[in-house]
Symmetry: C2
Subunit: 122 residues, 2 copies
DNA sequence: CTTACGATTCTACAATACTAGAACCATGAG
DNA sequence: CTCATGGTTCTAGTATTGTAGAATCGTAAG
């Protein structure tokens, strides 16, 4: 994960309503939740929720699929793993353990490895 | 770390200038850097930098000490560890590994343990 | 004491983000 | 086709945040 994307993900989660939504989606697991259900549980207007859901999608923290007339949202855990990887290694120089689960799923999968930290810029 | 604090830390790092400052402080290590030096390296006005440094301090991501007429800032790595812990465990339900380095240093050290995840709220 | 310099605070402006009602668009049921 | 329902987009108002010049404060040297 590059710094630019990390900023986006951090800013997205650095907002109370959005973090609430995200946590709810995490709790819901892979099955996800329809938008209306999220709005009901968190007691926020659908319009407001929709605004935040687009944000979460943009940051690849959530994705949606349609089922009938419902739009089911689910959390993208991989992006959090990538963010954690960025925070520990690229940003802060901690050695990688090899247990990281990031990689392709939430990156643009351009050039492959790029082993250790030192400039994970722009 | 509680959700409230996590939001603050996430929002603080979710701003390009501030993340740049923080990364520079991390690179500088425990010795830290005087404010003027940071401003010079990042090419931002001192007033703007000061604004962001107060933010970083408020979120416990940095702290300052005076040496003569200089104010030396250094990064607080522990807070990042706590944030990572929150993201993985409290927020997202991953099992704790026992390798976490969070704990007292960057928390208000109120009541002690509170072992596993499940509601790390407000 | 006076001056120089590093840093913070004051202030104001610009930009961005959050909220939510209202209008609108899809989909499935009748 | 028409209607009801779930969701998004439009729109606008409010609040918050980021930027940076100018004024100010604090420390150390002359």
């Amino acid at each position: 994960m590059r710094t630019r994307q990390a900023v986006e993900v951090l800013a997205t989660l650095g907002q109370e309503t959005r973090l609430d939504v995200f946590r709810l989606l995490i709790q819901a697991g892979p099955a996800g939740l329809p938008a209306g259900e999220i709005a009901a549980r968190l007691k926020i207007p659908l319009a407001t929720l929709s605004f935040h859901l687009q944000h979460l999608k943009q940051a690849r923290l959530a994705h949606s699929k349609k089922r009938g007339k419902l739009v089911i949202y689910s959390a993208n855990f991989t992006t959090v793993d990538c963010l954690v990887g960025y925070l520990l290694h690229d940003c802060c120089g901690r050695p990688r353990t090899g247990l990281e689960v990031c990689g392709q799923a939430a990156s643009e999968s351009k050039a492959g490895a790029k082993s250790v930290s030192e400039r994970a810029d722009s």
